[in-house]
């Protein structure tokens, strides 16, 4: 396809980079629902974690015995590996639907379900035990107290996973653009703003300098919530045909926008909580039949959520935001980046799944376990743009990015592959007169 054809002396050529998708782990093609329950994914997770943590224990507190919950003895220090479970009083529960006082339930869902009475429980295959003392993580040194409660003295978390070294060779600036929450079809969506974004990416905007920067954009990632289907349309059981067309209106619009980008450069689109995709994680790629126009390009890639890929050997891991949003409901941190950092340290992308975050009931593995540390870790559909670099104990460096909702902020994010520097790209349509 044509690159930018400008009547200047110098033809700008779009930079390229090597793309390699690692989404396979998140595919659920062959898996089926055969009556399996969630215990197996917990089991698989515990197994993975235990193997990992046991190898760390010898360097950490070699003098302490490692045991199971059941083998705990009163007054003895020991180390237990287990799944943490938080008992929460305010956590919404499906049984509430059946409770008598219907009017007692608040109409507005609280943002956070924490309560002073919440307590933690540590569980392994053998049993569970209530925790007391200084708490927070996946591995704990415990001492039994009288009441059958376990006093946490110290804890060990898995820490950042090992990282493959960043490739050194880098010829110059190459940018990746992240955007999320386009929400085509919603009232918030400003078509002009979206068009500006696309024009910028495709190099149809600005002067030569700006176009030359645009030509360095090598990849676009759309991290979820691209479409917003008017609420209530899908709840009704019988859709009239005119509703049906209203339903597909925003999808068609998105297809047109995406084909503009795909015509110019590679594009990854991830499903988000509001998209026409399945609900539970990992969300499967948006179906190609939704995008008859853009899917014709081989630069168009519909991906899973979470999404794992490499660009010029730099590894990227990201989600459309459900994992972090869910953590926020049940715990506290100073900002979203801290939640992101925690998931890395815990080596688990979705620690609240399946309990409060829907996920597929895997039987033999836990795809959310982070085996190797990505270089870039992004999360879509957040309130505002934020970024930070996290350093691991073994020299790992991870760029964290929280991508804001475009429809609300008009902000997309660019990342320079050369030095992993990150900037907001803000589009305004307000004309100051």
């Amino acid at each position: 396809m044509e690159t930018m054809e400008i009547d200047s002396e110098k033809n700008l050529v779009r930079q390229q980079c090597a793309y390699y998708s690692l989404d396979e782990a998140f595919g659920i093609q062959k898996e089926t629902y055969r009556g399996q329950q969630y215990s197996q994914i917990y089991f698989a997770r515990l197994h993975l974690m235990r193997t990992l943590l046991y190898s760390l224990v010898s360097n950490w507190k070699p003098h302490l015995p490692v045991c199971r919950v059941l083998a705990l003895e009163q007054g003895k220090e020991c180390i237990i590996v287990g799944t943490l479970y938080k008992h929460m009083k305010l956590k919404p529960c499906i049984l509430d639907e059946y409770s008598k006082e219907r009017s007692a339930t608040p109409l507005v869902q609280p943002h956070n379900f924490m309560h002073a009475d919440d307590h933690l429980v540590l569980e392994d295959e053998s049993g569970r035990v209530k925790l007391g003392g200084n708490i927070l993580s996946l591995l704990d040194v415990l001492q039994e107290t009288e009441a059958g409660e376990f006093l946490v003295q110290d804890f060990l978390e898995a820490g950042l996973p090992p990282q493959i070294k960043l490739p050194l060779i880098s010829t110059g600036d190459k940018y990746v653009v992240f955007v999320s929450g386009l929400s085509i079809g919603s009232d918030n969506c400003n078509p002009l703003q979206v068009q500006l974004l696309i024009d910028h990416i495709t190099g149809h905007l600005g002067d030569e300098k700006e176009q030359s920067i645009a030509s360095q954009i090598v990849h676009v990632v759309i991290a979820g919530n691209s479409i917003e289907i008017p609420c209530g349309l899908l709840n009704g059981q019988n859709l009239a045909s005119k509703d049906l067309s209203r339903l597909s209106e925003p999808i068609k619009e998105l297809d047109i926008l995406l084909s503009q980008i795909a015509a110019g450069l590679p594009l990854d689109i991830m499903p988000g909580p509001g998209d026409p995709a399945n609900f539970s994680l990992p969300q499967q790629p948006l179906h190609r039949c939704l995008f008859p126009g853009s899917s014709a390009y081989n630069t168009f890639r519909s991906c899973t959520n979470p999404h794992l890929f490499e660009l010029d050997k730099i590894s990227f891991l990201g989600t459309s935001g459900q994992n972090i949003d869910d953590l926020e409901k049940y715990s506290e941190a100073k900002d979203k980046l801290e939640f992101m950092e925690r998931t890395l340290r815990w080596r688990h992308l979705a620690p609240t799944a399946p309990n409060t975050l829907g996920c597929y009931p895997y039987t033999d593995r836990d795809p959310f376990f982070i085996e190797s540390c990505p270089h870039v870790y992004f999360v879509g559909n957040q309130d505002k743009f934020a970024t930070r670099v996290v350093k691991g104990s073994e020299g790992q460096l991870v760029r964290l990015i929280s991508i804001p909702k475009f429809s609300e902020t008009g902000v997309a994010v660019t990342l320079n592959l050369r030095d992993l520097e990150c900037h907001a790209l803000s589009f305004g349509t307000q004309l100051s007169s």
Partner: protein
């Protein structure tokens, strides 16, 4: 109950071997008069005892563990007997023993010895043997009988008694006969007293036999054959003792130092002593003595390994686990948690797991545990009917003769006895009675059944109701599998068993049963065990007897003439003007109407004037009241009634308790006071019922019919006054209108539109009308209903306002929300409609809601769990006379799979399915799981007509004009969808062919998803499919994680099969639907 030969309680006080005296039990005419304290005790012979000793030695390790749990050791003051013993008693009974030589030097032979069990405030267990109290009753003395005649009469009676009790070797049956001055409580009498004879007999059971003789008549020289009316001859001995010593249930008793003797130790109690009944000091439950002693409460549950398809039977199936929790009264956490298991069981955190190789060891360990922990109260769920009898019968099967020593008396065995409990209020229940001496049994199932009206009484639904917690339910067919697995699976079972032991304790705490029942015992004066094992009337009788004793009155033992004494007109209900009232409705209530009437008009046994006496006494009209039902009662200036006096005291005490409650800060003190005021209220209200019950101790229809007649008059009077006074004629803005009136309340529409104005007028009316009544009858204004939906008599709903700013709650009466045989859908529909109508004030919304629910039902989109109807299977199919849906289903399920089919005692859930035309309803019932698995269509018409229509129409008829037409026959009922069963005959011949997802047209071989026609609509059709999947996934996740949460484990599969749980079927369905939806979605992968 009657004419049976029973073993007499053998005296444990003389452990000499040899033949035990056996006495023929007398025929008894009245069940209620039956002495309840037959104790079947057998002594253990010497070598058995040594066997037990050896057994204990062998288990030294266990013993040391148990030793940790024993009660605090006695202080030196107690040991030296230098201090008085003050304890709170919980249980009072009696035994027959040799009379105490030292305390009663003048008497000999057998005597009744009262035993009082209790706990001191330090937590020591007490067994107090009280001597010297003798059973007695009264007869009226025939006129002209002198002291000489009495001694002759004594001899004759003694002779007749000896004849009737040939097997007894008591030296003297009738101890003595005294002349006393008393008066009968019945009817107004002008003389202040008459001569009565007080007949003192040797043993409590002889009261009955003696009464029989006197009832039938006795030949007396000079007078001839004469039968006697007996008085207070049906008072249970323990109650008699309590009344005479001023002891009320659960109060504190003091025995001063030096007045008690400790010598023998026949019980396991720490403090055991003998004393005379006259030395007891009974403390009124006030101040320091209103507190509770630190009782030990044991909550336990057993698990049995039943055979496949059968309910466990003690003759076959072993007891495999016993879980125990012991809590000190007043503390919120148990201090002992343990579980005894058969075969090895993995440890459980915070729980002492004791595993044994044989069942014998399990049972004996439990027996030892009971002895060492020495619980005062034993609680559990259905323990009286299941757990305790099972353990005892199982031990019998295994021939463990030393097991049933569970009571506090050494060497006394517990036996199981079948009893029937019959009461007008609670109906007849068959149950097993296990008497554990000295320990109160408090079966939460019985208590909840008594005190609350619920749709189901399974532990699961009761705890869901009160604790908002679902309980994991392991089907009994799995229990054996878990037991036969390994230590881990048994641990799983143990955790389940522990939870079942924990929930009764939680219920006990939550519902404040200990406080409420102890207070009820204190207020009414009966032992706590009576509250559970007996009906209402004993409570009133106890108060009546106490009061009568003060007044020198005696209560006749009235022969019950036939079963029915005729009925009388009940409470009145003013005609209900059905409708939906959108203006505030003020409600005027009579505060404790019936007690007030009895007080105001001095209605009592002793103020009633018989029709003959009316003429004879020639009473001045100003000192009598003629009631609207035509009876005559004297006013209080001539004779103050006993019932009014009791009521006055109860109500005054309640006022005091309520005032104290406001002052109280300490939560434990508050609990006591709240329990007391509740007990006082209930007691005051039950007095009227006592006089009206036809099968009771002392029925008096004259009183009860007078009460209701006054009640009716008052309601009419109120209506008239309101409608006369609050008129535009008298300067009010609107004419007031009484729209409805029930037993003790009148609903008035004053016509004003704000709640505030209605409240002001309501107060004014209440004050004005109260002034026209005799004190203490009082009309109170309490609440306003706004809006108010009046359906018919005793059926209404409305928002309840007590303050002008916000409503307090939604109040409904008589509307199907808790009926057992309704499906959940009805309850939800009714609740949601009322919510929409009353709170949201959105009638069109409510109509729309009903329509869409009906449409969902017809379109087969309804959540199956909403349609499940549950009924208890009480007998097997053959025993039912009429074919019933659930019974037929149980039979069919048994044919399918005997192992999981419901048994007698289980609840059978079913749905009504579509079947061949003309099939009877009972043939169309089906197991919901089977329906889910095989896609069997349910019958929406059945649900529409038999379940939904009536309750819904009832609500909407006052609101909508053509409710039935509008709601049940509108356009929303036109489209019907019925799923195709996957197992029906015809389907086996059908060839499956894919249809287009868009238009259901058959697809040619090449296409897999859409027909060529629908190709252009791919995006929208895909959205639809994926939205369904998405919704199901969300549901799947929420349902299954909820079940994980409930079972308390993430790493183990959910096993629960609780059919009472509202999400059980949904969970199953989500699993199945998910698999199907996934297949649908996969068709898009072309």
């Amino acid at each position: 109950m009657s004419n049976g030969t029973r073993k007499r309680p053998s005296p444990p006080f003389q452990p000499s071997p040899g033949p035990q005296p056996k006495i023929q039990a007398f025929s008894q005419e009245e069940e209620l008069a039956d002495e309840d304290l037959f104790r079947d005790e057998t002594l253990i012979c010497e070598d058995e005892e040594s066997l037990i000793l050896r057994d204990i030695e062998q288990r030294q390790t266990l013993a040391s563990r148990l030793a940790k749990w024993t009660r605090p050791p006695l202080s030196s003051e107690y040991l030296s007997q230098s201090r008085s013993i003050i304890f709170q008693q919980l249980e009072i009974d009696y035994v027959i023993g040799e009379s105490h030589k030292e305390l009663l030097p003048n008497s000999s032979g057998q005597a009744a010895i009262i035993r009082i069990f209790g706990v001191t405030k330090e937590g020591h267990s007490v067994c107090c043997n009280v001597h010297g109290f003798e059973p007695y009753f009264y007869i009226s003395c025939p006129p002209g009988m002198g002291p000489d005649d009495i001694s002759r009469f004594h001899q004759i009676l003694e002779g007749r008694m000896r004849e009737a009790n040939r097997n007894s070797n008591v030296p003297k049956f009738v101890r003595r006969i005294e002349m006393v001055q008393r008066r009968s409580i019945m009817y107004y009498q002008q003389q202040s007293s008459h001569t009565f004879l007080r007949i003192v007999v040797a043993l409590p059971t002889m009261v009955t036999s003696c009464r029989g003789i006197l009832d039938r008549g006795i030949q007396i020289d000079g007078i001839g054959m004469k039968s006697f009316m007996t008085y207070e001859s049906n008072v249970l001995f323990a109650l008699r003792f309590m009344i005479d010593c001023n002891i009320v249930g659960g109060n504190w008793i003091e025995v001063p130092a030096g007045k008690y003797k400790t010598e023998k130790s026949l019980s396991y109690c720490q403090l055991e002593f003998d004393c005379l009944y006259s030395e007891l000091i009974s403390h009124a439950p006030e101040g320091e003595f209103s507190k509770m002693a630190p009782f030990r409460i044991l909550s336990f549950d057993i698990e049995c390994a039943g055979r496949k398809g059968q309910f466990p039977e003690p003759t076959h199936d072993p007891v495999i686990q016993i879980a125990n929790l012991v809590t000190l009264q007043g503390e919120d956490q148990p201090f002992i948690r343990n579980v005894m298991t058969l075969k090895l069981c993995s440890p459980i955190v915070g729980v002492d797991v004791m595993s044994f190789d044989t069942e014998r060891e399990v049972l004996l360990a439990w027996r030892n545990f009971i002895r060492d922990v020495d619980p005062d109260i034993i609680i559990g769920y259905n323990i009286c009917k299941f757990d305790l009898p099972y353990l005892i019968e199982r031990a019998e099967t295994l021939k463990i003769s030393e097991f049933p020593i569970l009571g506090r008396i050494r060497n006394s065995r517990v036996r199981v006895k079948d009893t029937t409990f019959s009461s007008r209020q609670y109906g007849t229940r068959e149950s097993k009675e296990v008497t554990v001496e000295g320990r109160v049994q408090f079966d939460l199932l019985q208590v909840v059944q008594r005190d609350y009206k619920l749709s189901s009484y399974s532990l699961n639904s009761v705890s869901a109701h009160f604790l908002s917690e679902q309980k994991e339910d392991v089907h009994h067919s799995i229990i054996s599998d878990l037991q036969n697995g390994n230590a881990e699976t048994r641990r799983r079972l143990a955790v389940y068993c522990l939870k079942d032991a924990y929930l009764p304790q939680r219920l006990l705490d939550k519902l404040m049963f200990v406080y409420n029942y102890v207070e009820m015992a204190r207020v009414t004066g009966v032992p706590i065990s009576f509250l559970l094992s007996r009906g209402q009337s004993i409570k009133v009788l106890s108060q009546l007897l106490r009061k009568a004793k003060q007044k020198n009155l005696v209560i006749p033992n009235v022969k019950q003439a036939g079963s029915e004494q005729g009925t009388y007109e009940g409470a009145t209900v003013l005609e209900a003007r059905a409708g939906f009232y959108e203006k505030p409705i003020a409600t005027l209530d009579f505060a404790s109407l019936y007690p007030s009437i009895m007080m105001a008009y001095n209605l009592c046994y002793c103020t009633l004037v018989t029709p003959e006496d009316v003429h004879k006494f020639n009473l001045p009209p100003e000192s009598v009241n003629k009631t609207p039902s035509g009876e005559t009662f004297v006013k209080s200036n001539l004779q103050k009634g006993i019932l009014p006096e009791i009521l006055e005291e109860l109500l005054a005490a309640r006022k005091r308790a309520k005032a104290d409650l406001k002052e109280a800060k300490d939560p434990l003190e508050k609990a006591v006071l709240d329990g007391r005021q509740l007990a006082l209220k209930v007691s005051a209200n039950s007095v009227y019922g006592f006089t009206g019950a036809t099968v009771a101790q002392l029925p008096c229809i004259e009183i009860s019919s007078s009460v209701t007649s006054y009640g009716r008059q008052m309601i009419e009077h109120t209506k008239k006054l309101v409608e006369d006074k609050f008129t535009t004629f008298n300067g009010y803005v609107h004419n007031a209108e009484v729209i409805y009136g029930d037993t003790d309340s009148v609903m008035v529409q004053f016509g004003v539109s704000s709640v505030k104005e209605a409240m002001e007028l309501g107060r004014e009316a209440a004050e004005y009308i109260s002034g026209t009544f005799i004190k203490p009858i009082k009309l109170e204004f309490e609440k306003v209903y706004y809006p108010y939906l009046l359906i018919s008599k005793k059926r209404y709903a409305g928002l309840f306002w007590t303050k002008p700013d916000n409503f307090d709650k939604m109040d409904t009466k008589g509307i199907e929300t808790v009926r057992r045989d309704n499906c959940l859908l009805v309850k939800n529909l009714v609740n949601n409609c009322l919510h929409k109508i009353l709170i949201d004030r959105d009638i069109p919304g409510a109509v729309q809601y009903v329509k869409s629910a009906i449409s969902d039902l017809l379109m087969n989109r309804m959540d199956l769990s909403l349609l499940v109807i549950t009924k208890g299977l009480t007998k097997t199919g053959d025993d039912y006379e009429v074919k019933a849906a659930h019974v037929e289903l149980a039979e069919r399920m048994r044919k399918r799979d005997a192992a999981t089919a419901p048994n007698v005692g289980d609840r059978v859930p079913y749905v009504i399915i579509k079947a061949a035309k003309g099939a009877k309803a009972y043939e169309r019932s089906e197991d919901p799981i089977y329906v889910l698995e095989n896609n069997i269509p349910i019958d929406p018409q059945y649900y529409l007509e038999n379940q939904i229509s009536k309750p819904i129409l009832r609500i909407f008829e006052p609101i909508l004009k053509n409710a039935s037409k509008e709601l049940l026959h509108g356009s929303h009922t036109r489209s019907i969808s019925i799923s195709t069963p996957s197992n029906s005959g015809i389907m086996r011949f059908a060839k499956k062919q894919l249809t287009c997802i868009g238009c259901k047209a058959l697809l040619s071989n090449r296409d897999r998803t859409l027909c060529s026609h629908c190709k252009g609509r791919e995006a929208e059709l895909y959205c639809k499919t994926v939205a369904q999947v998405s919704e199901l996934e969300m549901l799947f996740g929420r349902l299954w994680t909820q079940c994980q949460e409930c079972q308390g484990s993430l790493h183990q599969d959910v096993l629960c099969t609780s059919r009472d749980c509202p999400i059980f079927y949904r969970r199953k369905k989500a699993q199945k639907d998910m698999a199907e939806a996934k297949l649908q979605l996969d068709r898009w992968n072309f």
